[in-house]
């Protein structure tokens, strides 16, 4: 782990330093129960309501949450299917909406690999790559031993996955019975959660630059090209942060 990018201190409240895989799995479960489960649950309540309002069955919502487990793609799926779009158009829209999972998966898996793990576990863990689990893994990696991170990740994400399914059902049942403003408040939990998660500890210089450039460029590039804006934002702002971080490193050491 010689990269400059892993220096950030563990977030406040991270007392635990799990001693084995079972303890790491439990640590992951405990971390899920709290803000991550509440925020993710609220988002999936919103998704469940949308499924019903679109005239789709509860099983449609549950299967989508279980097999997709990435809201932007699930929202595209429900909206496009509701408007009668073709299979190819739906597939492309979902793939584009979820393309952010690719860099997340590439950057998360090396943190969890260990020679003793059966390889099939990585392919299973990949299904549970999503923003919440990814961001927490990035913060906790420094206090977890390499061989225990996969167990932590499964404890965390399996708990969140079960909560997501339950909340999809709750949302489907509640559809239309909750005041609109409350629904809006629940949907807003998601950006608030990530905003505060990024503020919880002062990130290393590279990450700080990436967050700043990303926040500035995200809305601008979305205005320029709604379909590609997010991916472009990641590439441009991430590359800029990377270049400046490297330049600052060379300036200090050279």
């Amino acid at each position: 782990m010689g990269t400059d990018d892993t220096r950030s201190e563990p977030a406040s409240g991270a007392r635990a330093n799990p001693v084995d895989a079972v303890a790491s799995f439990r640590f992951g479960m405990r971390e899920a129960v709290g803000p991550p489960a509440i925020i993710m649950g609220a988002s999936f309540v919103g998704f469940g309501s949308l499924v019903r309002e679109s005239g789709l069955s509860l099983s449609f919502g549950l299967v989508s949450s279980a097999t997709g487990w990435a809201l932007p793609g699930q929202l595209a799926l429900v909206e496009l299917y509701g408007t009668g779009a073709g299979l190819l158009a739906i597939t492309l829209a979902v793939a584009l909406a979820n393309a952010r999972l690719l860099p997340m998966s590439i950057s998360a898996l090396p943190l969890m690999r260990h020679p003793r793990h059966p390889r099939i576990l990585y392919w299973i863990a990949a299904h549970f790559i999503a923003a919440t689990g990814w961001a927490l893994l990035m913060q906790r990696a420094s206090i977890l031993r390499q061989e225990h991170r996969l167990a932590y990740y499964f404890g965390l994400t399996l708990t969140l996955w079960v909560v997501s399914l339950l909340c999809t059902a709750v949302g489907w049942e509640l559809a239309g019975r909750v005041p609109r403003t409350v629904t809006l408040g629940l949907v807003f939990l998601n950006p608030l959660y990530f905003l505060l998660l990024f503020l919880i500890d002062t990130p290393a210089r590279g990450r700080l630059l990436a967050l700043g450039f990303g926040a500035a460029l995200g809305p601008l590039l979305h205005l320029a090209t709604p379909d590609w804006g997010l991916l472009l934002c990641g590439l441009v702002a991430g590359t800029l942060a990377f270049a400046l971080d490297r330049a600052a490193q060379r300036g200090r050491h050279g």
């Binding site: 999972l101 950057s107 809006l184 590439l235």
Partner: protein
């Protein structure tokens, strides 16, 4: 659309989503975690998430577009303020922000 469309659409959605995740497993096996390429991909992901959060607050699509920009900005500021006042308690921060938005949107 016939009865086969529901399973077909769900399967297509699942496959289109897992494609990104699975490709990540494949590619990550060839990248050294100590390399510059790996650090770059990590920063691209951070930038992407920050861009997404900023866009969701400033230019939301979907139901949040019904709320006013000022309401969303005030709610985000309330969340950050309560978060710092309670020594960075995430739950207090997000709850306060959501309640502020509900109050401002009512």
């Amino acid at each position: 659309m016939g009865d086969w469309t529901v399973p077909a659409v769900l399967a297509a959605g699942a496959a289109a989503t897992y494609a990104s995740r699975g490709l990540g497993v494949l590619l990550s096996g060839r990248i050294d975690p100590a390399s510059g390429l790996f650090a770059w991909i990590g920063l691209v992901t951070y930038a992407l998430l920050a861009g997404l959060v900023a866009r969701m607050i400033l230019l939301p699509i979907g139901p949040l577009a019904e709320t006013g920009l000022l309401a969303r900005l005030v709610a985000a500021a309330v969340a950050a303020a309560l978060f710092y006042l309670t020594r960075r308690n995430l739950l207090v921060g997000v709850t306060a922000g959501a309640i502020a938005l509900i109050a401002l949107a009512s």
